[in-house]
Subunit: 531 residues, 2 copies
Amino acid sequence: MNAQLEQNLIQRLAVGDIIRRSALRAPGREALVEYRGDTRISYTYRELNQAVNKFTRALQGIGLRKGDRVAAVCLNSVEYIVAIFGLARGGYVMVPVNPGLNPADMGYILNHSEARALIVDDAFIPVLNKYLDKLPNIKNFFSLPVSGLAAVKPFISFPELLAGQSPEEVEDVIIGDRDILQIMYTSGTTAAPKGVMITNLSVYVAALHNIIFANINSRSIMSVVLPLFHCAQHSVLTSALLAGAGAVIMRGFEPGKYIAIWSREKINFMFALPVMYRALLDYPGIDEYDLSAFERCIYVMTPMDRRTLEDAGEKIGADKFVLATGQTEAYPSTNYFYPACYPGKEGNYWGVSNLTYETAVLDEQGNKLPRGRIGEIVWRGPGVMEGYYKDQEATEKSRKFGWHHSGDLGYFDEDGLLVFMDRKKDMIKTGGENVPSIKVERVLLNHPGIVSAAVVGLPHPHWVEAITAFVVAGEKGGGLAEGDVIAWCKQELGGFEVPKSVVFVKELPLTSTGKIKKHEIRSRYEHYYRE
Amino acid sequence: MNAQLEQNLIQRLAVGDIIRRSALRAPGREALVEYRGDTRISYTYRELNQAVNKFTRALQGIGLRKGDRVAAVCLNSVEYIVAIFGLARGGYVMVPVNPGLNPADMGYILNHSEARALIVDDAFIPVLNKYLDKLPNIKNFFSLPVSGLAAVKPFISFPELLAGQSPEEVEDVIIGDRDILQIMYTSGTTAAPKGVMITNLSVYVAALHNIIFANINSRSIMSVVLPLFHCAQHSVLTSALLAGAGAVIMRGFEPGKYIAIWSREKINFMFALPVMYRALLDYPGIDEYDLSAFERCIYVMTPMDRRTLEDAGEKIGADKFVLATGQTEAYPSTNYFYPACYPGKEGNYWGVSNLTYETAVLDEQGNKLPRGRIGEIVWRGPGVMEGYYKDQEATEKSRKFGWHHSGDLGYFDEDGLLVFMDRKKDMIKTGGENVPSIKVERVLLNHPGIVSAAVVGLPHPHWVEAITAFVVAGEKGGGLAEGDVIAWCKQELGGFEVPKSVVFVKELPLTSTGKIKKHEIRSRYEHYYRE
């Protein structure tokens, strides 16, 4: 063995070791639980570790080698988790793909990543089978038995794949901590998806600091409802399994089903979107349950509105709630915010940095901005990606002045807490002022007659960009007129923040992950003020 | 900037960033407190960060460069901590030296490390001044004002060094996570001291998992009584400062003084040797204090005897106690053990691995041994040293079969918990059996007439090695005879474990750090059974 390989082996910090390490500490503890129909599927750490070994050995047996990309088009399941850690253990590079993507994007990712193998939920076989001839690199197809459908050729089912494999430890793969663990493609709103290369070090260290900020421990029983193909849930699940916690796997969030499983499994740790907490609190009969059994509730993506926080505070406990943030390129979480510690603070607070990240706000020249000044949010830390796969230009654009650039605008408030303003490209420059599109959108969405809204800046001879609202009216907004909307905005916004025009539309253009394609609105209405 | 440097800067995990990162989270929180005479010296995180910047800038101004070794012969003080993190921030390699070493060992370390600068407590200036001509590499001398002595030439005092320096962030040093942070020399009992090269990654990651196993947090107020030139206290202090905790610095442990400061500073976190906890519990009038205010008590080096644990359990709370272990070569802590979780388990338990370490027990051929079988304790993890400085041979000997070899023997018990038996070289092979010297020593030390004891195996024609006890009798052991000692041992040990001979000595040979030089006893008495 050469010296570098030996060093890698001895000093290893590899995500594929996490399950074994937890199994060495507490082999009999329950790691995973999933309800499938009436069946309760469960894995202790020992069983999970053995399944992971079997999975890795099966792939080795087929001839896949360290560094080979393996794509996964899967919703949450225990088998998917076996695959995630089995790929990590074998040194394969996982390429998780959102099953909701359109065929063009999915095909792009599968081909761009040069995946040699593909893992899918059995339910997706019929759709994928149509496109197999467009995926020339993929030689091996595996299916997870989540819907009980038969695995038709060329797919090999998960039980068949593992049958006869030894559960003994895989000892022959040496992984360096900067070896790539996964390539996660971000859903591009303006261009082709970009493949974010994420190392073993990034994920392992993120798991450590997540354990710390959220106080995950071996008594935690965590629900997993967000999709594992996204960085946030992947990072939090990895944290839970490193801490030796239990994880209850669900394929999505439905409040009635959630509360039934919560009650049976004594779940005490929730990780979800604010809207899911809202739905849980509004669920009929929820008052019969003692939700104070929750020890920690993490929420992500957006701030929690005051009403939900107050309700949650009453029923669950305000001090249990914490917002976490991050992005695929800066492995979550980068920052966190306990709202109960700051009762006076409203808005999109991201709070303080996690223990291995450093956050700054820079101006265009790379100078650190003092408190109160808006600039681009930038990060340093071991969770920052290695780069975009096969895209040196985009990688170079993402790093300047020795920082990873988030593409987000924000500022530190008077107490040094980070506040998110808007995506940089969505900030509107109007009459010499900067107006965050999401600030105006939030006001619009508070109107009872508006169900969705997008605010963009459109080219204008006088204003440079004119704030323009695109609004979908709901049932309560039958007779809603432009003047009503503008009057509503004037009550809540400064004069320069009020839209110059309101355009009523039937629907807004969305990406397959549900983000509004603002660039599409901007380009379609480019000449709106010049016609 | 080249691509690798830029990557290092953006993905940085550098110990020199820790104070700044904590200062960004909570600038006004008190980081350090020390009582010097009647004066209470304190640093908030902001102040500490500024002092660290000044220190780094001063060294840069003198012309010291990243990678230069800087030795420190210091006991604990706030200024020493400023230096520790100032060296880290500048990318200097700290070489901490035990002030208690004899001049020969100290000179060896200062020369072998090629240190270019030296930091000492002012009290040590008179002694060191005698040897300056034997330290040709050292060009810069700094003294810390801990005793109020004047800094005579060539020493520059700490306040003079920092005067006029800017507290602005040092931005121009780029540190890779595998850059060497410090070289700590282990006190060799058989050979010259060996310089353990420890990376930034090792210490930063150890701090993260220490925070987790001991639940260090920003409300912790930790006493620092063990010397910072040892890895254990350095690692735990770094953990505390990363967690944003407060640290109360002491130059040693004296129970009366400790309890006075404890009470004034509301210390709730103790890190000490078992004998210190014993002394605290035995302190006259201790029952007037509510020791249950402690939230966590870590002990190191040796197991806590049952009586102390029971007393401590009553007065402090049994569940607060945790043993931590590790070694300079495998940055502490590698393993931990909460005795209250295992009421039936006696002996030298090291427990389970920390979250970034993996522990195994190997036979001589490198096979993993099952539970119950004794072999060498080995570790993998990012805390394992880069190697011994300028000693490739010793480095290679320390790693075999892809593991770092601890030099310790032990086994996993029936529950998978690690038990330490003895240093490998101190295990006695007698009549086909292996007997840990420390097992016999523990029995001897329980005898009221014995104050210290060393047990070694000496060459013997029949037994191969004959267990031989070297005993220092105390006042109560005035008339103690060999037969008494052997009879005592027979009550507690198996027949093959009982010493064949007992040698009464006035004192045992000790290293400057207080370890018994067993090799010296062995070589002096080599022919004992052949004379």
